[in-house]
Point group: C2
Chain length 200, copies 2
């Protein structure tokens, strides 16, 4: 419909999640008349995300260095590990201010339909961390949907024989079938404080 | 909330129209795990929009050359000029397939509240085109809202003494208070075929 660069930009934007053709067009024309400095900021952010982002070698969170800020923070309680599916879930939990321990990012959830089994997740490194002395609780904060529950059940079975380890799951209160990412702070905070022990 | 590049990208995306914090986060994490080639496509589209896009010297449409494809197309009817506010309105009209004439982009609408008067719009070049022999109709396709109606009224008065020129306005049928950009093809097509003469 448009010539060259404008249409290319609309197409590229339209491939992003949650952006339809009308939104893509609106953003493209916004950028067309925007301050070139705004585009430069976006370009440089894209460049750095493509080239400079690392993942924390301990927990798997996004990071600028080999270890993320949370793992490096001496004020965090290293006896509790909160297991989440994705790095973005960490920011959801952090916003509740209910949790001062460390995290472990699985990189997804067990989902046979999508061909994701336990081997595709960072479960080995998790067991290694949990086996270290001092860890007293693992909080399973996977999404409260089918895949997340299956993953939590699987992890519970793997960890049930670790001596002196409590394995907990976020309390009900989270809407079932949803995504952790979209939970509001109060609901997620309540789910944290009401977490329950899981029997395998 | 996030470290360095990821947060910068979320911030940059969140400044785009229609993208809230959650969408920005979702897109940023999508790009983080996306094929780097997808990011390259987006980067190059941004680069070209910033550097290569010109505006047609005749009609003001976005263009890769000094004249746009529509103005260069010999099959278009050069006796009819459709006046729109923005380049994106051209694609809305083109999708109706009701119009085979040429366009003129004003670059906005008269809006005293936003400090936009007739001098900020491409009205001089429009009058020059309309004064050329052969132009028999000017269709005022400004948005059917306050600013668009004011602009249409203003233009009608300017052109009422041009000999042999019909000045028309898109038919009612368009929802009042809306944007041309969001009209569906059928409604906009009907508005085109039912356009009416305007008396100043």
């Amino acid at each position: 419909m448009y010539e060259g660069p404008v249409q290319d930009l609309i197409d590229a934007l339209g491939r992003l999640p949650g952006i339809g053709p009308k939104s893509a067009q609106r953003i493209a024309f916004h950028l067309l008349t925007a301050d070139p400095a705004d585009i430069t900021v976006l370009q440089s952010a894209l460049h750095r995300v493509k080239n400079d982002v690392k993942f924390c070698e301990v927990c798997g969170n996004v990071s600028e260095q080999t270890r993320c800020r949370i793992c490096l923070d001496p004020r965090r309680d290293d006896t509790v590990i909160c297991v989440v599916e994705e790095p973005k879930d960490i920011s959801s939990v952090e916003r509740t201010r209910e949790f001062r321990g460390l995290y472990h990012v699985l990189g997804g959830a067990i989902s046979p339909i999508d061909g994701i089994g336990p081997d595709q997740l960072r479960i080995g490194p998790l067991l290694k961390r949990v086996a270290e002395p001092g860890v007293r609780e693992v909080i399973l904060a996977t999404d409260p949907n089918l895949e997340g529950e299956a993953t939590a059940t699987y992890l519970t079975r793997l960890m049930k024989d670790f001596p002196g380890l409590a394995v907990t799951r976020l309390a009900s209160g989270l809407p079932v079938g949803g995504d952790l990412e979209y939970a509001d702070e109060v609901t997620l905070g309540r789910a944290f404080s009401g977490r329950r022990a899981v029997d395998a």
